[in-house]
Every structure is written in C-alpha cells, then in structure tokens.
Assembly symmetry: C2
Homo-oligomer: 560 residues x 2
Amino acid sequence: MRQPTMLAAVLWSLAAALLAEAKVHHHTWDIAYHRKSLDCFEKLAVTVNGEAPGPTIRATQGDTVVVTVRNKLETENTGIHWHGIRQRGSPWADGTVGVTQCPILPGETFTYRFVVDRPGTYLYHAHYGMQRVAGLDGMLVVSVPDGVIEPFAYDEEHTVLLMDWWHKSVYEQAVGLASDPLEFVGEPQSLLINGRGMFVNSSIPPADCALPPALFTAVPGRTYRLRVGSLTSLSSLNFEIEGHSMTVVEADGHYVRPVVVRSLFIYSGETYSVLVTADQDPSRNYWAASHVVGRKRETPSAMSVLSYAGNDPRAPPPTPRPAGPAWDDAAPRVEQSRSVAVAHPDHALPVPPRPDRTLLLLNANTRIDGHVRWAINGVSLRFPATPYLVSMNRGLRAAYDQRPPADAYDHRSYDVGSAAAAAAAGGTVASAAYRLALGSVVDVVLQNAVALNNRSETHPWHLHGHDFWVLGYGEGRFEPGRDEAGFNLRDPVMKNTVALHPMGWTAVRFVADNPGVWLFHCHIEAHVYMGMGVVFEEGVHKVGRLPSSIMGCGRSRGLN
Amino acid sequence: MRQPTMLAAVLWSLAAALLAEAKVHHHTWDIAYHRKSLDCFEKLAVTVNGEAPGPTIRATQGDTVVVTVRNKLETENTGIHWHGIRQRGSPWADGTVGVTQCPILPGETFTYRFVVDRPGTYLYHAHYGMQRVAGLDGMLVVSVPDGVIEPFAYDEEHTVLLMDWWHKSVYEQAVGLASDPLEFVGEPQSLLINGRGMFVNSSIPPADCALPPALFTAVPGRTYRLRVGSLTSLSSLNFEIEGHSMTVVEADGHYVRPVVVRSLFIYSGETYSVLVTADQDPSRNYWAASHVVGRKRETPSAMSVLSYAGNDPRAPPPTPRPAGPAWDDAAPRVEQSRSVAVAHPDHALPVPPRPDRTLLLLNANTRIDGHVRWAINGVSLRFPATPYLVSMNRGLRAAYDQRPPADAYDHRSYDVGSAAAAAAAGGTVASAAYRLALGSVVDVVLQNAVALNNRSETHPWHLHGHDFWVLGYGEGRFEPGRDEAGFNLRDPVMKNTVALHPMGWTAVRFVADNPGVWLFHCHIEAHVYMGMGVVFEEGVHKVGRLPSSIMGCGRSRGLN
C-alpha cells in the first residue's frame, strides 16, 4: 500500500468531514398506470406511487439521491431522467434510454444513485419514447447547505410545475407522428399547474373541478420564492400572477442578475426561481395563470388561485381571468430570454475565451424516407437499441452509426426562410454521435429555419450532463465570423435548457469535461420522437466501470 | 477426427435425404401499432406488417419455420407464442415471456426457429401481459406431405379465425383488473370473423362496413375444409353456417372420429377442422355466424356470408340472421366436448395405462392482498422477471419461488359450489412451478367451482409444449378413486386446449417428455393476468445450450 502524503491525509479528512454532512435520500417508486383526472377528464397516466405528477424530491447540495424504480407497467419499459443534474461521475444514472441505459423492463427494479452537486431547481421525467407525455414527471429541489447565503431573501418557497395534457394516449400520438401524411399531436386539451387543470369542455365538471385549484396562501407583506418548472410536451408558456410582479433570481440552477417581469415566459425543460411579494390588496384572491404562447392558442389557459391569508383559498378572484400576452408576438419573449441570460454579478462563472470547436446546427424540418422528420445538419436521430454509453465504452461499433453528423450545415447556400429549402434538405435517419475531445470548449450555434409548413417555431434545447453559457440570441441567419462579435463573454448565465426562437439563432458554450455520452435535444416530445437531437460523446473510456444494470438490451445483451 | 461407422454413414444419408425434402419458411415481421377499423370503429391495434390479425403461416409437416420479429412498438415489449407447436428440441422458441424467454425490446429483433413436426391447424399470438387483446394473432397451418392421405377428403380449404374485440386499450383493461374493487374487462364490443366485425353502434358505418364480409365462395357440390381457430380473449363461441351441417374431423392437430354437428362450440385456444359440403340451394347466400355462449350475450353475433358461386359474394342472405343457441345452456356444449374427444380409429395414439403422478387443480376465484385473483391450489401465478427456462436451467434459485404449489387441493373439505368457500380460500401470489420427472406420465384433473360472484364459468386450459389425451369431463366435484373409472383410456383424442365446463371437471393425461419449462393456463387473457396458470418443468437440464437471445432480463442480465 502506498503511504499517503500529509497533504493527501489532510484532504481526506476534509472530504470525510464533508461527507459526514451529506445525507442520502432514499426513495422507492412504483411506476404504474392509474386512472387520473388531472383536468376533470379521466384517462390513464403513468404514475409514481399512484401520483401524476410525481412527488417533489428535496435534498441539500452535496447529498446523494437514491431512487429505486420498480416498473409495474406490465408490458411497457421505462427510464427516468434527472433533468439538470449533471451526473458527474455517474453518467449511467442520467436515465436516458438508448443513450445512458437500457430500458427498465416490467417487473424489474433499477436504482438511480447520484449526487446533487449544485443547489437549484431541477426536474425529473420519463426519458423513453414519448412516455413523458403520459405524466411521469416532477420536480427536484436542491437547497443550499445551512449557513450558505443565497443572493436574495424570501420567507417561504413553493414549487410550481407547469405541464400540458392530452386526452389521447402516447401510442395514438406516436402512430400519428409516424404516419404519412404526418398527423401531428395537435394542441393539448389542457394546461396544468401543479398537476391540476380544468378541461373546459367537460359537460358537467365534478364538484372538485368546479373551482380552480389553489396555488398557495400568501401572508401580506411576505416574499415567496416560486420554483417554477415547465415540463410541457409541446407548449411554450407564459406564467403570471395577476397584479404581482416577479423577480427572476435563478435559472436552471444558476443565479441570474435579478430581473423584474410582469409575467414569466418559460419553455419546456426550463426552471426559474421568481420572487413574489404579497403586496396587493389582501382582501381578495388573485389569478395565477399559465398561457400558451408561440403556437396558436387553442388550449384554454390554466388558472389557479393565489389566496391571501384569511380569504377562502379557492374563492375565485373578482377580476376576469387574465388573457395572457398575444400568442404570436415573439419580440417580448426574445427580449426576456436576453434579459434573464445574465449571471448574478457575484455568481458569474468565467467563460473560456474561445471555443476549440464550433457546431453550427441547422434545425431542419424535412421529409426522409416518406416521413416528416426533424434533421440536424442532415441527420435525424434514431435512438439505437444499445445505449451509446455501453456501445462506445465497450467498442461495440456495429451498435451505432460511425459517421458523425457534419459540424456545420452549408450556411452559405441554405435559405433558412424557405419552406422549399426545408423540403429539399432531406437527410438520413441515423444513430450517430459527435465525438468531443475531453476537456475541450465547444460552441453550439442552433439555427432555426422555416419548417415544411412555412412556419418557424420555438425549440427549447436541453443538454444532458452539462450546463452551458448562454452567449447570445440573434435573428435570422447566424453568420460565422461576424455574429460571434455579439456574444456575451463577460457575464452570461449558465443553463441546461435554452430557447431557439422562431427564425433566430441561439449560441451556447460548454466545456466537454464530463466523461460519458450525453443527449442534446429539443425538449418537445414530438420533435425528439421525429429525430430532433444530437448525441455528444466525451471521454467515454474514462468513465468508471459501467454498472451491469444499464445493460441487457441490443448488443449489450450478455455483457457485464 | 473419429471415423464414422457404416451405420452412422447410412443414417446420415437418410437424414440428409429427409432434410432435403423439408423446407425452411422465412418470414420477417414488423410488430407495430397501427390504426385499424376491424369492426368499423377505429382504434390502435398491434399489427404484423401492418395487419391485424396477422398473415396465415403455411408449411408442410417437417418443415422449419423461421420468423424474424422486429419490435417497432416504441416503448412496449413483445413475444409471440406458436400455439400448438410443441417445440420439441426448441423450448426457447415457445414465445412465452417470463417462461421461455425475456421480452423482445423495442428496436430489437428476435428470431423464432422451430420445426412443425405434426400436420394440423395451429395458431400464433402475443404471449406477454394481455397484449394479445390488442390484436397480434393469426393462424399457422401445417399440411401433410405430398403423398400422405388424410382420413377424409375435401376439395378446398379455408381458414376461419374467430376473435372478440374491445374498444378500450389493453392498458385500460389491465388497470381495471388490478383495481380494488375489481373492474372486469366487460363484454367485447364485437366478435370478429377473419378480422372483420361490425360494431352495430357505429353511428354511420363506412361504406365498407355496411355489408357483412364474405367468408368464401362455394361451388355447389364441393366439400370444403374449414380450419377454424378461436383466439378470443374472453368469449366462448358457437360458430355456424346457416343450413349447412359440419363434420368435425380434426381438433388441435389430431384427427377425430368424424362427428356431424349443426354448429361448432369452440373455446379460446382451440382449433378444429370441419368439412362443409355446398349442398344447399345455390341461388342464394347463407349466413356464417359466430355467437357468444357461456356468458350473458351482450355482444352482437358476428356475421359473414357464405356465398354460392354466381351470386354477389356479399349479398345478404334472404333469411334473418341466425340467433345462435341459448347462451346459458351448457349441456349441449359439454355433450359436444365429449363427442369430439374421441380419436379417429386409424389415428388413435395409445394412452399410457396409468399416471405416475396426478395433479388435482382447483380453479379458485378468491381475494389475495386486496385484489381479486385466480389461484390454482392456493397459488396465483405471477410471471417472474427472469424466464423460468433460464433460471431453472442455470440454477438461479432466487429468480422464482422454490416452493411448488400442492399437487391437490383439499377436495374432501372444499365446497366447490360455495362462493363463501371461494372467498375463504385465499392464497398467495407466487412465481412457483411444478417439477415433473422427465418421461413421467402426468394426469391433471381441473376442478371448476363457483367464483366470488357465485357463478361458474368455462375456462379453456391450454398446455404448452405437449398434447394431452382428453380422458373425460364430469359434473360437480371430481372424486379421486371413483371418477377415474369413467376415463376414456381406449381412444381419447389428443389436444392442447380443453374446456373446463361450469361446475365440472376435466381430466387430461400427458407424458412429460419434452425437456423445458411449459405454461399451462386458462386461455382467457384476463384470467391468466389474474394468475390462472401453472408452470411445469421437466428435464430442464437436458435442454441444449440456451440461446443468449432469450436472456437479458431480470437475473438473466449479463448471462450468455
């Protein structure tokens, strides 16, 4: 045995002391179908211990979370992604079926174990096919340790999980998406706030549905931190509390330079903490509302009630329900994206000055092999039967497509404003991956374009395993060699999910320093189903021994 | 190299000559959800290459069938059972998930390869959870080799696949069955003949649905062999062709002493060949109908049209639609079961004179752990996460319950006519198995009883991996030491599926000479879901090397 040096011994003592503080939080979850009436319309939902959405997981920075998942879905597999947790040192716990693990089979148990190394507001959800649409999701809140002061103050906190909800099943949605001609999933029947909505077409709503649900009860003068997360499957949202301004203080686990907004634009996969002070007339209640933006608003806005203490917590406010902003005005959305993309001055993490590699990714809606698909630089992602993490770590080269997508699309000749260009783009369906040099600095510029339907939509892109700096948003076509000049390299916030606005571009930078294989994808379920994602590998041979529990499918059958 | 003896060389030449005759039939099947309107109501079905039911497989005795199954169900697994094929020497190809293989995962390919060693009429269907309800099924017809004469003559043959059909999904059915209080699946919306039915509640049926489907067109004077199979999920059926008698000549792949019937009672999992001669007025068409029997008839009978050549093949017959027999008169059903249970005199296979072991299996409907279940001698079967074939062959004792169910229930004290007895019976949910001595002769006496609802139903029991001799049917309680005297040991037919009639018993005998692990179960999907089955192991250490393609789940993860 090697003799430890004095320094090592000291470090060890420190680490041990820290470990002594860290807690391990054990959860055992049965994943099963149950009938739920989240919006007064009964349908099957995939539940966690009978609940949809699932329980909020709470932990403190440095703690370990252990979730034992028991699949009780009878014939359907599952996998759960811990959205925003970087899984440093535990890439096999990312829960992305086809990328970091085989699916969890019915009757089987899989244990996720990971350290929550940063405080903040995170999410979890099924990451298998379009299963998330069926309701397996929830929030994961990581507090700062005792004694650590956050750069803002509040009296109490509440979680606000925003969702959209369909009455048809995931299976029906997927069959439509795979059809020729494409049958899109359509607009949701309801929006949900903390798992509650009101389907306005219900003939006679049950008593429990006659009143909008309560958000929380405020004490006059107090300030509340709302941890708001969106796990919509399609919709971009605007969240507001009637008459109350909000101060945005956190985005995806990072402190932002505080920004006061009247309402919060939030995209699927994003989280924000907003501070709300109960500074209005306390003799009445107020609407808290979630509205669709970015797509023609066919879904009624979700309403809940912010009550002031002493009032009937569910008494409808005396004012008309808020109508929300114009759905088709993107300008205030882009503006808010820019304004919340600045780090808190005391918490800005320095940006590497330049990238080692730049990926310029065209989001192209096109037709491949007779089906409408999304392709990124000509490649429409199909998840392989063998998870990349296993196949790349073990050298199973036949398990995925060896040819990576191109680093850039042909930005000089491609007309991002032309539906004909989209139609002509074409591409291939492949299980490809970008191989990134471990430790390298990577810029990704997401380029939007018009789709086959001649419209350009918002795409919230989510990166697994990393946070990235948000360098900038632009309009139209990103021009390499010119538009980098507008990047914010001084104090950009880090995030894990970022909006690509209609007909615009979004630039992010990250350090590829987390050995593993990581998905980067549009967080709209139908879009990733249609291929809208890319895979990043970095240092896959440096990960520790892979647990055999992530193997067993495809070419990983028989491996240990 | 060892020098072959002359004898071995001769044997090899003979085998090679035989092999040269045998064909290999390759099929590649994509299993996927598609919208189907089998009864003029559109719903999702699990399809084979887009079709539900799937194509009829045809082969000749001695041929090899190879079916490459590609699972395109997105998040759902599958497995296909070749119903009636004994899989001698290929127990891993039986397709029973949890017993003989791990499920086939989405994106994966599994190849079934088996020899069809007996001529006859067989079936195939999903054997995973209740997936069969969703439509993955079809027929498998094995012809006699050229030159072999069957003990009856006919001019032409047609297949007739009978099904029942629900509009709600398998998931909805399963959630209801697992609920407390139990919500049973209810009666089907339609019966189907060759995948076609007419949901009478359709508001305005599409043009294609306005007329009953054609069965086939007959030429006057000719005789037709109808290969009739039932893959209902719940319903016992009566099949008739108006005005035409039927001569039953084959049951489950065995020739029976010909019996003329006016209509055919058929239970899920059974097949019969009946001869029908076109001997009626050729100027008109005739109804061919399938009716529910044994349960209160809430489902309209399925109608198709037997046309005579020269008539419009879909012209409705001039007569009222046949009403079918009284649903609740079990006597003619028991009588027909007895009359078709006699082997053709030239094809009777000699019965071993006595059993080495007798299992007296009580079919008890009872409540276990708060759920209504079916228990056999106190054990309600739960399929293990690791297939028995692997766990037993490899000695993975923790993968299943080591304690087998009892060989007999307490027939002296249990009152089979008492719902209170059923309620008091209780039991355990377990992954147990009977271990049978290889080569031993086993009698199984199935004992029916009244259920919690005070009724006694028909249960069609199907044995995998074997045919059994049908020794007899009796009323009330089987009395060991007395009722064996009534067994037919002279010329019983062999079958693989047999009806257990209401408040009766059914006795069968088989030789446990097929190394492997085999399910024996009620063929009603809801009943096997509720635990109504037992598992037989025999000579599991004598099977050849198990293919690693059946492994990968549960404790077989990592095995080769």
